[in-house]
Amino acid sequence: MSGDGSADADEFKRELTAVIPHLRAFARGLCGRPDMADDLVQETMLKAWRARDRFQPGTSMRAWTFVILRNAYLTEMRRNRFRGEYDENVAERILTAPAGQEEPLHLADMHRALLQLPPERREALLLVGAGGFSYEEAAEICDCAVGTIKSRVGRARAALSSMLEEGSIPRRDSDDDEAHGAILDELGVIASNGSKP
């Protein structure tokens, strides 16, 4: 083993460590579930580490690892692991921001609205609107044309605006428990009617 290789590995690890918070934020935006998001990030870290020889020093570690994370996510999606997995209570707990009560828009509402979007628009918006990537960088991460990213972001923005402005996302501070209870009751009725052999 050469000393240089070891130094490279150390530098790689340092950069990888620095992007973990961003990987977690991207993953949570994508899949909605904090526990699954963190699983995805850990899988991403392992894959990145194994592939570290392919990383070009001086390029963006964040963009490089986002590609790995995105691929891992898509694989999981194909296995249906994330379908309908959004857990309202977990999200409420996780998304309680310090100044949350005074915000005109609750983060939990935001997250709920985001998760209503089709996955490809959600990821485009996350990359550009939250992650601060340029359209060009986002296009590279998603392996598609810049125009496609622009259109996805545009549609995602329009959808979010209308969802949040028209209030079609239920506000978390009003009647959520009641609504949730009503839904559970309804499901209970359906289950008891439908489960007869």
Partner: protein, 60 residues
């Protein structure tokens, strides 16, 4: 590219007013950013530190 590793002021900060933001910066755009930053600012769970320390043993 901007790297937002250090954004404590953003998520911890109160918005100055509760009325609508200008058209180019709607509430949801700020919300989306804060959603992301709120996760970025979370302390790293121990499981990640464990994984990082294990990386050294892997394929070195």
């Amino acid at each position: 590219m901007t790297n937002k590793g250090n954004k404590t002021e953003q998520a911890g900060h109160k918005k100055q007013d509760s009325c609508k933001s200008p058209a180019d910066k709607p509430d949801w755009a700020t919300g989306l950013r804060r959603l992301y930053d709120s996760v970025v600012e979370e302390p790293l769970p121990d499981s990640f530190k464990d994984l990082l320390s294990k990386l050294d043993d892997t394929a070195r």
